[in-house]
Amino acid sequence: MTDFPGLLGRLCESQVEFIVIGGVAAAVHGAARTTLDLDVVYRRAALNLRALVGALAPLSPYPRGAPPGLPFVWDERTLGNGLNFTLTTTLGDIDLLGEITAGGRYEDLSDHAAEVELFGHRCRILDLEDLIRVKRAVGRPKDFEALAELDLLLEIKKRGP
């Protein structure tokens, strides 16, 4: 099981600049569905790559689903050479996204994220309208039900229960 407080705590305590998207953001907005991983869009500035490497290094990050023994080195060079990483760690699965469909990069999403108190940390969460917009743009059939739930949450928030 993914230790969401642990992963979020590591990122926040290491002062990583990130925005939570995906299922955890949906849950923060009130969705009742569960998710197995933490999806974040991270800022690709050099200082932030360093912070991200430091945050996850103690958790033995490794490409999820990859066979063991790959020459995967978790460092700033690896992060800088890639963009999106789906990783497994000792605290659970995390997706580090440098850019997302219809959302762009951290800087593009920054004005669409709100600070929310989670487990004693101030975390930036993609707002509900943009979470819907991004999920809709990706257009995966498995997201239809999740989208319906998010749409309903938006209706409830706008009109009340």
Binding site: M1, T2, F4, P5, V24, A27, V28, G30, A31, A32, T34, T35, L36, A102, G103, H112, V116, E117, L118, F119, I125, E129, D130, I132, R133, R136, F144, E145, L147, A148, E149, D151, L152, L153, I156, K157, P161
Partner: protein
Amino acid sequence: MEPPRTDPVVEAYKAGIDRTLLIESLRRTPTERILAMMSMQRLVEEMRRGLRAASGRSK
């Protein structure tokens, strides 16, 4: 970013969603919502473990 649009497939899924669960969830704090999700995951994992154990015993 573009404004959201209505999708008939997504609209069809709405009928099957339990609004009371969403309203209940909105009464919680964001931290409590994540903890509730983790609690559900824990339950599912325990059930799976139980099923595997039962399946092993029946062989």
